[in-house]
């Protein structure tokens, strides 16, 4: 006769082993978010016990704050262009590496490198590449006679955001490439063989079979890229600090400035909570839209 173990014995074990994770999440994720929401209704310098409840006034200020809207706009430009530029290139690279087999092993490794470098290091690297006087980029442009194209990339408010965007793409294309590569590798080879036997061309195979099968992966990549772009901070902080003249200001850099440089912890929290709301709203809309238009395969 086999003895059935009582259920609650498992439950106890489960609780004990889940506890550290749940505790960490509560302390470092849930609590700070709730605390930010509370702080968004206060005026507080971030020092001492001088928190004053001010009702909705921070939120009213946010609605009229041109810098915040500009930052939100920059975030949206960043998100849209990131998706439009990064994903197709990443997919093309993944396809190439997938088809190339062993010959591509070196490139597989090389393309992966930007992902391994910390954002701060990348920031410093590109600070020097973009330097209008000594930088690599302008030196190359001048060298091949394209002097008119040599610009002060980070110093010109109309260019700075795009200059930063280029670096962000360079940094994150490898990440999306990796996701696509994994998806392609898990696709059974028989599909390809069967399609070819049925008379499909490579082109048809890609558009009719590979791409529909990648739907789920593409949706994941879009959402990751979107959320990443909306919360983006580190590279901007190092490269431009949100300048010049606010042209590369993002919601996260603006939040940092308000909370830590201007000693407006209350208003900074309002910006932070608004950032969370924007991310939740947009990613929710995107997720439900992409689900609705998903085709059965």
């Amino acid at each position: 006769m086999t003895r059935v173990k009582p259920k609650n014995e498992y439950a106890l074990t489960a609780i004990v082993f889940l506890a550290p994770t749940v505790l960490l999440l509560l302390v470092f994720v849930v609590y700070p978010i709730l605390e930010s929401v509370r702080l968004s209704f206060t005026r507080w310098t971030g020092l001492g016990q001088s928190q004053v409840y001010v009702g909705w006034s921070n939120w009213l200020r946010l609605l009229q704050d041109m810098v915040f809207w500009k930052a939100l706009g920059n975030n949206l430009i960043l998100a849209l262009l990131s998706i439009l530029i990064q994903l197709p290139i990443a997919l093309a690279l993944a396809l190439m590496l997938d088809k190339g087999g062993r010959a591509m092993r070196f490139l597989k490794l090389a393309y992966f490198i930007p992902l391994l470098v910390s954002s701060v290091a990348i920031g410093f690297l590109f600070k020097y590449i973009y330097d209008p006087n000594f930088g690599l980029l302008n030196a190359v442009l001048n060298g091949v006679g394209l002097n008119n194209l040599a610009k002060s990339w980070l110093g010109d408010p109309s260019l700075a955001l795009y200059a930063v965007l280029a670096v962000i793409c360079w940094q994150f294309i490898p990440f999306h490439m990796l996701i696509f590569q994994a998806a392609l590798a898990s696709m059974p080879a028989e599909l390809h063989d069967a399609a070819l036997i049925d008379g499909a061309t490579e082109n048809q195979f890609f558009w009719r079979i590979t791409l529909p099968l990648l739907q789920g992966t593409i949706r994941t990549a879009v959402v990751l890229s979107l959320i990443g772009s909306l919360r983006y901070f580190d590279l901007i902080y190092v490269l431009t600090g949100g300048g010049p003249s606010g042209s590369t200001e993002l919601m996260a850099t603006y939040m940092y400035k308000q909370a830590f440089s201007s000693f407006n912890f209350g208003y900074g929290s309002t910006v932070a909570v608004a950032l969370i709301l924007v991310v939740l709203l947009i990613s929710g809309v995107v997720l439900s839209l992409t689900k609705r238009f998903q085709t059965e395969v």
Binding site: V16, A19, G46, K127, D131, S152
Partner: protein, 422 residues
């Protein structure tokens, strides 16, 4: 059985952790930002001497890099987990600590045995609020001056300009010879602000800014002086006196000094800390560098203030520190006679009266400070933090020609009014 054992182990793992050791010594935690040499050992040596003389105290010295420090100290103090002794730059942000009762009033400790008289009197201006002194000036004198390439000036027959008109004609001559007159890296923002502060001082005297900042005597940031200063600065930008793309360059990464070193630019308005940076980065170039103060408005007119701080960094004692008396004694070691000698030898200017520099460059700077009618603290340090940020943002936009001086003045005045109303 197995599961119970595992569960038990898990619980043990959760519980096991902090075993608190009995502390016999008095602990003082000390945060500062002298994270590179010679500052690092200048602090450490004095603290070691203090601990040798006071074996019952243990000082835990934590050097933190400048930019990281600004965030770290704020979070720590806000959470009530701050160090006993810490550094600030004085001015508006320090005043926030005072208002939040985070640091203690040192007036009576400084008055004991006339200890206060040891220091240059100007060194207390940035740490005195309502006639109470909240810090000890230690690290040095930081004032803004023009650095210039002596060889280049000699080759083109240029003199150190004594008036703004001469500065402009010097810039024109340099420009004609294909050299950028002023090297500037203004991603950092406080760098470009130096030009603005000096122009305001030279055009309107010290009171214009002080009145606007303290909202006294009808002072306003929309005073025509601020607008005229902004206009002149924009004229200089339009005339190409500054290097291309300055708003995207980072001072902390050396992008403005690179232009000087390469001979592409002739001058840089910068804090006198530049001397020691140039000496370590490019010793050959450093011997070829001269300094002059920001010129006066007109010949024979008043020389005007120097912009900068005397005594910055300052050290403060937190209100929740358990060993305040010991902390103060420890700070005294940082700037006692032996420390002053060591600091002087390392190229620093300790803010004490007894210090007589032998180095000619240091001598020049000390004379400049002593001869000036007064010291104007950096705007971004003098002003309340939010207004200081507004000043830096508007000045960067002004120099980027994306904002008119009138718009900049209005933003400053509106922010000042809003903060005053709080």
């Amino acid at each position: 059985m197995n599961h119970k054992l595992l569960a038990g182990l898990g619980i043990l793992g959760l519980v096991a952790g902090a075993s608190v050791l009995a502390q016999q010594k008095k602990e003082i935690v000390f945060w500062h930002i002298q994270s590179s040499e010679p500052g690092l050992s200048l602090v450490k040596k004095q603290v070691d001497r203090y601990m040798a003389a006071n074996p019952d105290v243990n000082v835990q010295v934590v050097p933190i890099q400048n930019d990281a420090y600004k965030t770290k100290i704020k979070v720590a103090m806000g959470a009530g987990q701050g160090p006993c002794v810490f550094a600030t730059w004085g001015g508006g942000p320090l005043f926030e600590y005072v208002k939040a009762n985070q640091i203690i009033d040192l007036t009576s400790l400084l008055n004991e045995n006339n200890y206060k008289n040891r220091f240059l009197s100007a060194s207390f201006s940035a740490i005195t609020f309502n006639n109470k002194i909240y810090g000890v000036p230690v690290e040095g004198v930081s004032i803004s001056i023009f650095y210039y390439n002596k060889q280049m000036f000699a080759k083109l027959g240029l003199q150190e300009p004594a008036t703004i008109a001469q500065l402009v004609s010097t810039a024109n001559t340099l420009k004609k010879n294909g050299i950028v007159p002023f090297s500037l890296a203004n991603k950092t923002k406080w760098t470009g602000s130096m030009y603005f502060m000096y122009l305001v001082d030279r055009m309107g005297g010290a009171r214009t800014f002080i009145n606007a900042a303290t909202r006294a005597n009808g002072g306003s940031f929309q005073n025509p002086v601020f607008i005229r200063a902004g206009k002149m600065l924009q004229d200089w930008v339009k005339a190409g006196y500054f290097n291309e793309g300055f708003n995207g360059l980072d001072y902390d990464s050396g992008q403005s000094r690179g232009l000087l070193y390469a001979g592409k630019a002739a001058m840089e308005l910068m804090g006198n800390w530049s001397t020691s940076i140039m000496r370590s980065e490019n010793p050959a170039f450093a011997t070829n560098v001269g300094i002059f103060p920001f010129p006066a408005m007109r010949a024979g007119g008043p020389a005007g203030n120097v912009v900068g701080t005397v005594g910055d960094n300052y050290y403060h004692i937190a209100s929740n520190c358990k060993h305040q008396k010991e902390s103060f004694e420890m700070i005294k070691f940082l700037i006692d006679d032996q420390a002053v000698t060591e600091r002087g030898a390392a190229g620093r200017i300790p803010p004490v009266k007894s210090f007589k520099p032998t180095d000619p460059d240091l001598k020049n700077i000390v004379e400049l400070v002593n001869n000036a009618p007064g010291t104007q603290l950096w705007y971004d340090q003098y002003l309340a933090p939010e207004l200081g940020e507004a000043h830096k943002d508007t000045t960067q936009a002004l120099m980027g020609l994306t904002m008119t001086p009138e718009q900049a003045a209005k933003i400053m005045e509106d922010t000042a009014k809003r903060l005053a109303g709080k």
